[in-house]
């Protein structure tokens, strides 16, 4: 039981990170029907920007931890947003209206570009960061087994919940969110009603990148090691999460992220660590066989 609870905590933490990245996939898919394969690498860029900012801030002599984290988070979100915006502007917008596969190919291209850029600029070696937030709460103890909820895990879960709540509100209540939902359904009609579709799409990328950068910051603080290649696997997992939850659906992405995180941790906790990815992807395959549009996705009904 204690072991189970510990794995549950770990799984929710990991799932939060996946969920934050998955939102970026699902939103972009929703609005322009394209899989942004460079999104995982945007997450990686976010983690790198966070590391550099953290070192810079500490070098400047600011040591009050909450302030440091706040600065890191804000700088990373802003700069990663610029990256996300540029990727859309350079690689996707010129191809809008081209055949469907074109942006997909440039997306893979952008992913390779970002990876190699970071590899060249930052070096290929793994970058370590000593744990910044230590300690935690012991929830229960039995026969010497401690169920621990670390402060880092609390930070990740709370940040994720807050961001997702804010985000859901943004989509449902503000005019930007309304415009995004309108563009999702009928871009041409939206533009005829005065919605600047290109700008709305850009902002979608910016928002996705900002969330991915938060995930990057959390990843950096939680695991303490990053390299130029972390974006690939995290990206694939988050994409899986988005598909599992029903791509195009925001609650779906959050749920999918959580599920993938839980499946992974439970599998590595009870069976074998080596096969955790196999487990995650197998569940995806099984769910898609029985629910092709994902858990919360709406099946596409075409009226005849």
């Amino acid at each position: 039981m204690e072991y189970f609870i510990q794995q549950l905590i770990n799984g929710v933490t990991l799932g939060s990170i996946y969920g934050l990245i998955a939102i970026g996939y699902t939103m972009v898919y929703g609005i322009i029907g394209m899989i942004n394969f460079a999104h995982g690498d945007i997450f990686m860029v976010g983690a790198f920007i966070a590391l550099i900012t953290l070192l810079a801030v500490v070098a400047m002599g600011i040591t009050f931890l909450p302030l440091v984290l706040l600065i890191v988070l804000i700088v990373s979100m802003l700069m990663t947003s610029v990256w996300g915006w540029s990727v859309e502007r350079i690689a996707y917008r010129p191809l809008r209206g081209s055949f469907r596969l074109a942006p997909l190919i440039t997306a893979i291209g952008m992913s390779i570009v970002l990876q190699n850029f970071v590899q060249v600029v930052q070096g290929a070696r793994v970058k370590p960061l000593p744990p910044q937030i230590t300690g935690g709460i012991t929830i229960m103890e039995k026969d010497g087994f401690l169920v621990q909820l670390s402060y880092m895990q609390i930070l990740i879960i709370v940040t994720t919940v807050l961001l997702m709540a804010g985000f859901t509100m943004l989509i449902n209540k503000t005019s930007l969110g309304r415009a995004q939902r309108a563009c999702e359904q009928d871009q041409k009609m939206a533009s005829l009603l005065g919605v600047n579709v290109d700008r709305t799409i850009s902002l979608t990328f910016v928002m996705g990148a900002a969330l991915a950068s938060v995930a990057g910051v959390m990843f950096l603080l939680y695991y303490g090691v990053i390299d130029f290649y972390i974006g690939f696997l995290a990206g694939v997992k988050a994409f899986t999460a988005a598909v599992l939850g029903g791509i195009g659906s925001l609650p779906g992405a959050m749920l999918g992220g959580l599920l993938i995180g839980l499946i992974e941790t439970f599998w590595s906790g009870y069976f074998s660590v080596e096969y955790k990815d196999v487990a995650a992807f197998s569940i995806l395959a099984i769910v898609l066989i029985f629910m092709p549009s994902g858990l919360l996705g709406k099946p596409e009904v075409e009226k005849v």
């Binding site: 804010g166 309304r178 939902r181 041409k188 009609m189 939206a190 005829l192 005065g194 919605v195």
Partner: protein
């Protein structure tokens, strides 16, 4: 008689649209009067919807010029500006032959989207929306009020929070018009608004269009196949056939124009000439007596 020529809100000059070898619209010129309901009619395939698509930025015309003269004195060349600005700056709104509501959004939200630009500005691109800045809440309230007024006018206030796709067909048509009107247009283009409506609904629609002309001071340009409706409400009728304008005048003039009769009933060209000659003789006789 041709009051639309004096102060037109929309001037179409030498509009030509070619799709490869097909000339859909050929050297078409007409005016839309500022306080008129103007109908664009013609047999199937005459190029009416193509004209609409050129006016609203869907197509870039091959040749020609489309000028929108706003009541504040500004003019816009519609064939040159990006489509989202046509609604925003040039104040032209349109509906489609097939209904294009945002089906997954509520009826109210459909009307809110049409007021997007004002809301975006007042909410600092939605940053204000998240933090609840007061100017945003105020303008959000104003938009809801405007949307509500329109829902009352089209009699859909009870269904404000239902998904638009759940409405019956006739209600969806009216909602589309209301949504177009929520962009504050000065020219409203309707593509077959009466298609699929029963006679009673068509009567209601006539009332709505008249009120749009009189209360909202918005010019209406419509494509319609229901001739009784066209003749009843139009101040000005432009008839197209094979992309060419064959008649232009008020309802009574067009109804008696031999070219129009020929186009609709299908007769040979020399028969038209004969009919024209007869009409001339008849007119001359009428003048004599």
């Amino acid at each position: 008689m041709s009051s639309w020529k004096e102060n037109p809100i929309l001037t179409v000059e030498h509009l030509t649209m070619r799709f490869g070898g097909l000339v859909a619209v050929d050297d078409l010129s007409f005016e839309v009067g500022r306080s008129d309901i103007t109908a664009l009619i013609g047999p199937n395939g005459a190029g009416k919807t193509t004209v609409f698509n050129c006016v609203t930025g869907f197509y870039k015309p091959t040749e020609g010029r489309i000028t929108m003269n706003r009541s504040n004195g500004q003019s816009y060349l519609l064939e040159r500006i990006p489509d989202f600005q046509i609604a925003h700056h040039a104040k032209v709104a349109r509906t489609f032959q097939n209904i294009r509501l945002f089906g997954g959004m509520t009826v109210l939200e459909n009307l809110m989207i049409a007021q997007h630009n004002k809301l975006m500005k007042d909410s600092l691109f939605s940053i204000g929306g998240i933090f609840g800045i007061s100017s945003f809440r105020k303008s959000e309230k104003a938009s809801v009020k405007k949307a509500t007024e329109w829902l009352e006018r089209i009699d859909l206030i009870d269904r404000a929070d239902d998904p638009a796709a759940d409405l019956p067909y006739g209600d969806q048509r009216r909602l589309e018009i209301a949504r177009a009107m929520c962009t504050n247009p000065e020219l409203l283009c309707l593509d077959e608004p009466a298609a699929g409506l029963n006679p009673r609904e068509t009567q209601d629609l006539n009332g709505l269009l008249r009120s749009i002309r009189e209360l909202d001071k918005t010019a209406v340009l419509l494509i319609e196949h229901d001739m009784s409706m066209v003749m009843e409400i139009s101040d000005h009728v432009v008839v197209l056939d094979y992309g060419v304008k064959i008649s232009d005048g008020d309802a009574a003039f067009v109804q008696n124009d031999p070219h129009v009769i020929a186009a609709y009933l299908g007769v040979d060209d020399d028969e038209v000439d004969e009919a024209e000659a007869e009409a001339k003789v008849a007119n001359a006789e009428g003048v004599k007596s």
